[in-house]
């Protein structure tokens, strides 16, 4: 496995509180992604990054923001968590010459 780690692995938070999830990769991959995984929806892209400080929205970006200040770190922030954001969040990265996406272990977030 590529060196991709997510933290925390589990988190329970209250509605309305800010939450930041961290993704760290040691592969010097250019591209990084945040997905959420929900039953019946598969994986849906939240945001992605194509370089340091270069990010763009995915299909379900409302309520989420991201930042990438270093190649190895990609942060996902829920500004004000809602119960609909209860999900499993996966980070992924890809780069040259590998063509596939490598995934982190996932973060299980519960908003109560």
């Amino acid at each position: 496995d590529a060196g991709i780690t997510q933290s925390p692995r589990h988190k329970v938070t209250e509605t309305g509180t800010p939450v930041t999830l961290r993704c760290h990769q040691t592969e010097n991959h250019r591209y990084m992604y945040w997905y959420r995984q929900d039953p019946g929806h598969g994986l849906r892209l939240i945001h992605y990054s194509y370089g340091v400080k270069d990010t763009d929205k995915g299909e379900v970006s409302d309520g989420y923001s991201v930042s990438r200040s270093k190649t190895e770190d990609f942060l996902l922030t829920l500004e004000s968590a809602t119960s609909s954001q209860t999900s499993v969040y996966f980070c992924a990265s890809s780069g040259v010459p590998n063509t596939e996406a490598f995934f982190g272990q996932g973060t299980r977030l519960t908003v109560v």
């Binding site: 496995d1 250019r30 591209y31 992604y33 997905y35 019946g40 929806h41 598969g42 994986l43 849906r44 892209l45 992605y48 194509y50 370089g51 270069d54 763009d56 995915g58 996966f90 992924a92 890809s94 063509t99 596939e100 996406a101 490598f102 995934f103 982190g104 272990q105 996932g106």
Partner: protein, 111 residues
Amino acid sequence: AQRVTQPEKLLSVFKGAPVELKCNYSYSGSPELFWYVQYSRQRLQLLLRHISRESIKGFTADLNKGETSFHLKKPFAQEEDSAMYYCALKSFLNTGNQFYFGTGTSLTVIP
């Protein structure tokens, strides 16, 4: 628009039986397709990619551009194949690459 469709949410087969997990895609360019597997509560792992034309754990998948399909097949299912399977399409954009995933098929192999 890019889209990946996996029509079966659940699939059950008996051990030793053949298995086929369906994947259809829509993409205007030349697609690059993958199959990922996720064992219980683990990270997604690449199973195979169409450009490699390889067989991993007995699984194969052939890209059929005419039918826009990339079905995953295995002639004899094993209990350890029970997992969630995702078909994915890689899209090439000006800003880089994006991966689109289907909704997944949960495979259960019955002993």
